[in-house]
């Protein structure tokens, strides 16, 4: 089951039109990711932090998610200073660390955290359903939107089905080991889950046809793009342009 802990709320960002938030998140993330200076990366992190503050996101779960992201970044800190090359070298005991590598790792850390916080503040403050409808309004191909929405709806079911199959295997004394029997059993489990999901998707499609579905998802709740939404969009686009200008200059 996918939980959406940040989607509930009544902050400024929660009330902003999802379509506007999608565009804002895209342009900001792009301008921060392509930035090559500490100036842009640091300012990006500041903007992202402000967005999180404006969204009123709870600190503890946010920190947990950030920690998960930074575990991957830790790998960069292990490899980049040793392999970064360049002329500036820092001697640390018997190790020679690359100054360029350290700078690069620092830049990536700042950028990754900024983009992650930004996406969380802008996109996770809407439900996946609302994001799906937002993408639809931005004229993303209909099939992709339907794919996103139905995947979200049925992922939990598919997981449940897999667990049920696994449980029945475990109840008949199945223990995973490194042998052919284990591989074959997992093959069967995954295969059976796929078949069941396929059959379920056929039944769902039938149910949709019975209710007059012809290929497009009608939208019941249509958020209106207000002046405040447009102002927010203008602000985000403005900041992105500034970042890009600083990068190009």
């Amino acid at each position: 089951m996918i939980s959406e802990p940040f989607a509930v709320g009544d902050s400024l960002l929660h009330r902003t039109d999802p379509a506007v938030k999608i565009i804002s998140a895209m342009v900001l993330a792009l301008s921060i990711a392509t930035g090559s200076s500490f100036q842009v990366a640091g300012a990006g992190l500041l903007v992202a932090a402000c967005c999180c503050y404006a969204a009123g996101l709870p600190l503890r779960p946010l920190a947990r998610r950030l920690a998960a992201v930074n575990i991957f970044i830790l790998l960069l800190w292990i490899t980049l200073p040793l392999t970064g090359g360049g002329e500036q070298m820092i001697q640390l005991g018997s190790l020679q660390l690359s100054g360029k590598g350290i700078t690069l790792a620092g830049l990536i850390t700042l950028k990754a955290n900024a983009v992650y916080l930004l996406l969380t503040a802008l996109l996770a403050t809407s439900t996946i359903a609302a994001i799906g409808h937002g993408l639809e309004r931005l004229h993303l191909p209909n099939k992709l939107t339907i794919l996103l929405l139905t995947t979200y709806r049925y992922l939990g079911r598919i997981e449940l089905e897999y667990k049920r199959l696994r449980r029945s295997a475990v109840l008949r004394c199945f223990h995973g080991a490194t042998n052919l029997h284990t591989y074959r059993t997992y093959g069967y489990l995954i295969g059976m889950t796929l078949i069941r999901s396929y059959e379920r998707s056929r039944r769902i499609h039938q149910a949709m046809i019975m209710r007059g579905f012809t290929g497009t998802f009608p939208v019941l709740i249509q958020p209106r793009t207000g002046t405040r939404d447009l102002l927010f969009l203008a602000l985000c686009v403005g900041i992105s342009l500034l970042f890009s200008f600083l990068t190009i200059r």
């Binding site: 439900t127 996946i128 359903a129 929405l149 139905t150 979200y152 709806r153 049925y154 939990g156 079911r157 379920r200 039944r203 769902i204 039938q206 149910a207 949709m208 046809i209 019975m210 209710r211 007059g212 579905f213 012809t214 009608p218 939208v219 019941l220 709740i221 249509q222």
Partner: protein, 247 residues
């Protein structure tokens, strides 16, 4: 009800229906005839006797290998012939989870009316009204996959009723329901004034709702006038204490 409804013709008719699943030799039915007029029909049969297949043929989800389906006297030959039929005949699927695919209850109930070309305001009003009419007031913003089994079944029924059908096909709606959920479903279904076909293995449930009884066996439909009410002993917890059964 703006379309012309000719009462002399049956709403739905099957003539000489035969069906064989691809890749199998034995047909599920051969030369089967059936008419749905104003009756409330119970459809009985063993597992695998073809009850669900029959309902799917009626609404064009499966095409018969022989014979034809008639809706209000017109033969249904192509996919688009079935559009008006599906508008008028609602179908409740065996698994409510297959039927509820929108995130919120309101969106799911409004899906049908929106597809039928209703405006957003109309669809919303119809949905709220339908939910109210079956005792689900205040369920609009609930998340569909978090509902209980009984609630899911009732919401699935609401999604069908919101299309304002003139007949219903129901595939084992009593499956997996506890006593309370079953009696809620019973009271909703008995308040409906429309013909239906109901597949179930729950004889008590069928006896209280239906006026016609068919059983499907070896590819043939047999009609019996009534289910004979008779007494028999039954078991339940605390049975030795004095008690009575309310119906």
């Amino acid at each position: 009800m703006t379309t012309t409804e000719d009462n002399s013709r049956p709403m739905l008719e099957l003539r000489g229906i035969g069906f064989t699943y691809p890749g199998r030799e034995k047909p599920v039915f051969s030369n089967l005839d059936f008419r749905l007029n104003r009756e409330k029909i119970a459809l009985l049969g063993d597992n695998g006797s073809g009850k669900t297949t029959l309902l799917q043929i009626m609404v064009g989800l499966l095409r018969p290998t022989q014979g034809e389906v008639y809706f209000q006297g017109r033969p249904m030959r192509e996919e688009k012939d079935f559009f008006p039929l599906r508008r008028r005949i609602g179908m409740l699927f065996q698994h409510a989870d297959d039927q509820l695919f929108c995130p919120s209850v309101l969106e799911d109930v409004a899906f049908g009316p929106l597809n039928l070309g209703r405006s957003r305001e109309e669809a919303r009003a119809i949905s709220v009204e339908t939910l109210n009419s079956i005792g689900l007031t205040g369920y609009e913003d609930r998340i569909t996959h978090q509902l209980s089994g009984g609630e899911k079944r009732l919401v699935a029924l609401a999604t069908v009723l919101a299309m304002q059908p003139s007949a219903l096909l129901m595939d084992e709606p009593t499956n997996d329901l506890d006593h309370d959920a079953k009696s809620r479903l019973l009271s909703v279904l008995s308040s409906l004034d429309m013909p239906f076909i109901l597949i179930s293995h729950d004889w008590d449930f069928l006896a209280r709702l239906c006026t016609g009884f068919y059983s499907l066996k070896h590819g043939h439909l047999h009609k019996s006038k009534t289910i004979k009410v008779h007494q028999h002993s039954h078991a339940h917890a605390l049975g030795e204490q004095d008690h009575h059964h309310s119906k």
